[in-house]
Symmetry: C2
Subunit: 318 residues, 2 copies
């Protein structure tokens, strides 16, 4: 049972054509240092260098540019004030349509500024999940805007699936691929693509130990939701939905977790040695690879660095 139509690989191919003018084909980098440290051969897909600083641009652009003209004119809306919210505003501005982001009035000024900088309209609400959903529903009813969910949306998942396609094309055959899991949009798109073009590749997930709902779900055989987890990897707090569980339950080989300390340490190492600004949510995959040498030794592994949006005035190692 899913919460919407299940996207197919044809949807990924259509997404790729649709989003090409609006997103970067991000580079794949290698690092002798991390190869030595991990014992693996790592291929880092740099979605931190993506438009809006995160892979989210892929899914958001695909959703916005697949809207029929009449619907598009009414705009799009979401309740994500993080990377998806910014990506949606970016996509909407590129199409020349309005984007509304519902966020608590307590949200950090930096997040509000980022949404506005991408041309989005903020509608504030009380700082609770109920208030957020209620306010969003009211906005949707009032404007007729299209809801673009951050991950439980076939268009978004198909867009995220373009990332693994580029990675495979650019680095050749892989044995494994690892991506972070929050709500599961990125790894769902990854599973979709890998199952279609490289079914022998094992897909692994990575989660903060403090928000390990996907791992617990995989063990239990059904979705276990998270209740307001606290982790520095703030992009990975969301819980799975039916549509992402559909992919994760079928295609993910295993899920590894990392502690807060391991996440910060891996993040610092990537900044120092690879000269890449990555956010904590991206460092979770790196930490997972480094601490599971047995699983990855001698293996060609694609590592998706999902984003690079951090507050440079408040770095976690300071």
């Amino acid at each position: 049972m899913t919460s919407g139509p299940v996207p197919t690989y044809d949807d990924v191919l259509a997404a790729e054509r649709r989003i090409r003018p609006y997103v970067h084909r991000t580079p794949v980098l290698t690092s002798e240092y991390f190869d030595t440290l991990s014992g693996a051969r790592l291929f880092f897909k740099c979605e931190n260098l993506q438009k809006t600083g995160a892979f989210k641009a892929r899914g958001a652009v695909n959703a916005v540019f697949s809207l029929p003209e009449a619907q598009a004119a009414k705009g799009v809306a979401t309740h994500s004030s993080g990377n998806h919210g910014q990506a949606l505003c970016y996509a909407a501005r590129r199409r020349g349509i309005p984007a509304t982001v519902v966020m608590p009035h307590t949200a950090p000024a930096a997040k509000k500024a980022a949404v506005r900088a991408y041309g989005g309209t903020i509608v504030e609400c009380a700082p609770s999940m109920d208030a957020r959903e209620e306010t969003l529903n009211r906005e949707l009813a009032r404007t007729g805007a299209d809801l673009v969910h951050p991950y439980a949306d076939a268009r978004v998942i198909a867009g995220q699936g373009t990332c693994a396609k580029e990675l495979i094309e650019d680095c050749g055959p892989l044995d494994a691929l690892i991506a972070p899991i929050g709500g599961g949009g990125l790894i769902s798109g990854t599973c979709l693509t890998i199952a279609a073009i490289a079914p022998g590749v094992s897909v692994y997930g990575a989660e903060p130990a403090r928000a390990d709902d996907a791992l617990r779900s995989l063990k239990a055989g059904h979705i276990i939701t998270e209740n307001a987890p606290e982790t520095i990897a703030d992009g990975l707090k969301a819980s799975l939905k039916d549509l992402t569980w559909h992919f994760i339950s079928r295609h993910v080989t295993d899920i590894f977790t990392a502690t807060e300390e391991e996440i910060v340490e891996a993040m610092l190492l990537v900044w120092e040695r690879m000269k890449l600004v990555i956010e904590p949510s991206s460092a979770v995959t790196v930490a997972a690879v480094l601490k599971n040498r047995a699983a990855f030794s001698g293996v060609r592994v694609g590592v998706i660095l999902s984003g690079g949006n951090v507050d440079l005035d408040r770095l976690p190692w300071q």
Copy 2:
């Protein structure tokens, strides 16, 4: 008059073949944000993502791997404790020969650790230029090691020239190209390549206003040396030598300067918007482009981001 043989474009081509197994072909990135801010179309050549975190790996590897076997066995030496010193140790280790770096005993522990991490041997001396040269000469006499100067060396300049070649190949026709100037090795190699394969491209230099010896030299028509300048762009403190002046005086269209504040601001913007860790010396070119809109408006400009070696515990905006 030069301080050694003047390298030719054939030397760049030979360097390219020689260094290929040991250096990255670094990506060329674009940024809508910086295009809008500058009015230009910018192509960033990311040498911060190069082996050892700086373009210096190109020249050092070329020098080390062009040594005849008997000479190579005696090792290499330098008195640069910065990016060149690390790059030379990296190159020597890849060839399996010893590398000696002469540095003052007052040098920061981090720099000593970096040299050791790349397998180099440190010979300490008193903290003066005279002591450094004297100690280096004694080491050269004692070991028979080959001196690899950070920039007044034909092999080093030919190696640095491979950077502009890749840039032109990857981003297509350019109108202009800008690189930082310290001792002038990078821009000399750039001039060499551009004169050979794209003579219509204007080559610009960028310097800290506090270490503007190349600009003053260009105006005076002869080398003016710097006397221990103080700037945050610590890779750009060296003075020109005859061999680099040879290229700069013939091929550089103009040199732009940036204040300390402009350098820090440009550096922060690149971290924030491009998610790249660059060092202050790299930010000088970005600052120069941003403050000289008139020169670059509507123009396709290659911008060499020369390196990314910074102390992440001491960032200049904090």
